[in-house]
């Protein structure tokens, strides 16, 4: 009989149960505490409020905008990596990883400087005559998307690089010899082959963006409210733990649904074989 590996998994299993599954269960349990015993009261109150509904949509929009911008930036970088030599590849990987190696606080404060009225963006625009007077991108959606884009770029570049480094150049050569131009190669060969990596990257970017409390709070400011700030308000200001739990569960579920959807797409028979 084959020896079971169970004893070796046990420590990890206990750790996950103690520090992940249990708190999660407590959180979910908390969310059902109503004023008069267990009920769906918190969910009804949260989803019934038009303001909260807008916050949910805002958060999803922020996630989608970040996904779009990281994808548009990430694909060329990944393709550049694919065509580069050894040293250039290392440089690209290093530059890609820098945002992940810097502390969230340092990163966020750097963006405050960059996006501010005396920051390089504003000054460049004024110098080029594209703007009449200095402006700030702080507390704007554009500024927030810019910052999120830089922070989450590695999350989309790394899966793409992983896929491309396993993809032989012969595929593009075969398309070239068949008579395909560069755009046709990109659309009919490269993008479909990168799709599994993109799906993985999109899940990571969405999860990261929708939960990045510090960046949202500092750069997004008070004008745009996102779900994590809502949770913070319930916990820190209103001390309504059951309500905070309910909102957290809603955020978790929406990200979870996206994850399941992406996974189902990536199981498509055309996407399974390669990458």
């Amino acid at each position: 009989m084959k020896a079971s590996g169970f004893p070796y998994v046990l420590p990890m299993l206990l750790l996950s149960v103690a520090f992940f599954a249990t708190p999660l269960a407590v959180l979910v349990g908390f969310s059902f505490i109503g004023p008069d015993g267990p009920s769906l009261h918190n969910y009804a109150r949260f989803l019934g409020d038009a303001f909260n509904y807008r916050v949910l949509v805002n958060t999803a929009t922020l996630g989608l905008q970040t996904i779009a911008s990281t994808t548009l930036l990430g694909i060329p970088i990944a393709l550049f990596y694919w065509h580069s030599g050894k040293t250039a590849r290392q440089v690209i990987i290093f530059l890609t990883l820098i945002p992940m190696l810097t502390s969230n606080v340092v990163r966020t404060f750097a963006w405050i400087v960059i996006l501010g009225r005396q920051g390089p963006i504003s000054e460049t625009f004024v110098a080029l005559g594209l703007a009449e007077r200095p402006f700030t991108l702080m507390s704007t959606e554009l500024g927030l998307v810019l910052a999120m884009c830089q922070i989450d770029l590695p999350l989309i570049i790394l899966p793409l690089i992983a896929i491309l480094s396993r993809t032989p150049v012969q595929f593009t050569e075969a398309a070239q010899v068949s008579g395909a131009g560069p755009w046709r190669i990109l659309v009919t060969v490269l993008l479909p082959m990168m799709l599994p990596g993109l799906l993985a990257g999109w899940i990571l970017v969405f999860a990261s963006t929708s939960a990045s409390f510090v960046t949202q709070a500092v750069i997004g400011g008070a004008r745009n409210v996102y779900v994590p700030q809502l949770i913070y308000r319930e916990v820190g200001t209103l001390f309504d733990w059951p309500m905070a739990s309910a909102i957290a569960v809603v955020l978790l579920l929406s990200t979870g649904i996206l994850l399941v959807a992406m996974t189902m797409i990536s199981r498509h028979r055309r996407l399974v074989g390669h990458a």
Binding site: F171, E173, A174, S178, G179, G181, M193, R269, R270, G273
Partner: protein, 405 residues
């Protein structure tokens, strides 16, 4: 079965039947569809390569490669791995820009024609079938690039699928096919756009031996019926010999010889060709005497070999003489110029018996003979005498490396 038996009895000298036209009829008959396709196929064009030179980091350098492929001909670029044959192929396909040299396809200079507009079909070593496209979509790919209307595209894909005998496989994905089937899809995709030149880069390399031969015969059929000019790159001499009408032998970025498979085997121009194609015994020696009709060569072990013709060497020059294993006769009794040798091992290989021998000075020697029911198999270690058929020996100037040793 009985049909072929009768055929063989009818024509006892099967291998000697000369007119090739008759043979072509025989092969085309059972595959009636092929003849119908032939009229629709694009005409093969003549390819000429002159002075092709390229060197680049990461690519095997080639220098001054010159050869021609006539319209409708199959030519094989044959050589050991790293000899630059793939570089030549990639330059012709337009995937790399050679440093210098002229390439012409059907009289048109390819220098300023991009890879996508050269009208060339190519089968890649690992087939490079698009994994996310079905077999039919893969075959339709070059047609879509040529903006062939949808209805015609579908028709052409069907035609290609039946041509490579994969009719019911159109909706499968490449990974759902066996290696041989993938190879056939790659060929179908390469010829779907009716190219005037077909390039194949080690097309059978990933297949097992038994399957390889079947697919080679199939490719030959296809090529003959479509009449596409074909250039195939391979390191497998058997593959090259069974497919190509002429071989271009390459070594270290240079062309060593261009000839028919038989001529390359029988009359190798260089020592490399001699040892690369088939097996060859190599003996080093010095020219000792030059007569009008004979050359005496002294071997380091004191024996001499007399070739029955005058060689173009001066007395005292170092030469390398080569001969095929089948040109060595073994006997138990000493005679004339026979070299004494000790048998290491005898191996039966199908219809032949291969003997490995050691000469007195430790040089290895290989002899082969056709095996019959009464063939005497000597014991390993037996002292024998190897008589060389000197009319079939080749002599080459010794390479600097070997003479320095």
């Amino acid at each position: 079965m009985t049909d072929t038996d009768v055929n063989i009895i009818d024509r006892p000298h099967l291998c000697l039947v000369p007119p090739s036209a008759k043979r072509f009829d025989d092969t085309a008959q059972p595959k009636g569809i092929f003849m119908a396709e032939a009229s629709k196929a694009g005409e093969g064009k003549q390819l000429s390569v002159r002075g092709l030179t390229h060197s680049y980091v990461g690519q095997n350098a080639i220098s001054d490669i010159t050869f021609e492929v006539e319209a409708g001909e199959i030519v094989a670029l044959l050589g050991p791995s790293g000899c630059g044959k793939s570089t030549v192929l990639r330059a012709i396909a337009g995937l790399i820009q050679p440093k210098s040299g002229v390439m012409q396809l059907g009289g048109q200079d390819l220098a300023n024609v991009s890879a996508r507009s050269r009208g060339i079909g190519m089968v890649f070593q690992n087939y490079a079938l698009f994994p996310h496209l079905t077999v039919a979509e893969n075959i339709a790919y070059p047609l879509a690039c040529q903006h062939v209307p949808r209805a015609e595209r579908r028709e052409r894909v069907e035609e290609m699928l039946s041509l490579v005998q994969l009719k019911s496989y159109g909706n499968r994905l490449p990974r759902e096919l066996s290696g041989g089937q993938q190879q056939r899809v790659a060929v179908a995709r390469a010829i779907a756009g009716r190219p005037s030149l077909l390039l194949l880069d080690e097309p059978f390399g990933a297949l097992d031996r038994a399957l390889r031969f079947d697919l080679q015969v199939e490719l030959l059929h296809l090529q003959k019926t479509l009449g596409i000019t074909t250039l195939i790159v391979t390191h497998d001499q058997e593959e090259a010999q069974s497919l190509a009408g002429r071989l271009v032998l390459m070594n270290k970025g240079n062309v060593e010889q261009i000839d028919t498979p038989m001529a390359v085997y029988d009359r190798p121009k260089t020592l490399f060709v001699n040892t690369f194609i088939g097996q060859a015994n190599v003996l080093h020696g010095t020219v000792e005497r030059l007569d009008a009709e004979a050359t005496t060569i002294a071997l380091p072990n004191g024996n001499t070999v007399v070739l029955p013709r005058r060689l173009n060497f001066t007395v005292g020059s170092k030469v390398t003489i080569t001969f095929r294993p089948e040109d060595v006769r073994l006997s138990t009794a000493a005679s004339g110029f026979a070299l004494p040798a000790r048998l290491t091992v005898s191996v039966p290989l199908g219809p032949t018996l291969v003997h490995d021998l050691l000469l007195e000075d430790g040089t290895g020697l290989r002899a082969s003979q056709v095996r019959g029911p009464s063939t005497f198999i000597p014991e390993p270690g037996a002292k024998l005498f190897a008589e060389i058929d000197t009319t079939r020996c080749h002599a080459f100037p010794s390479e600097p490396e070997t003479s320095r040793q």
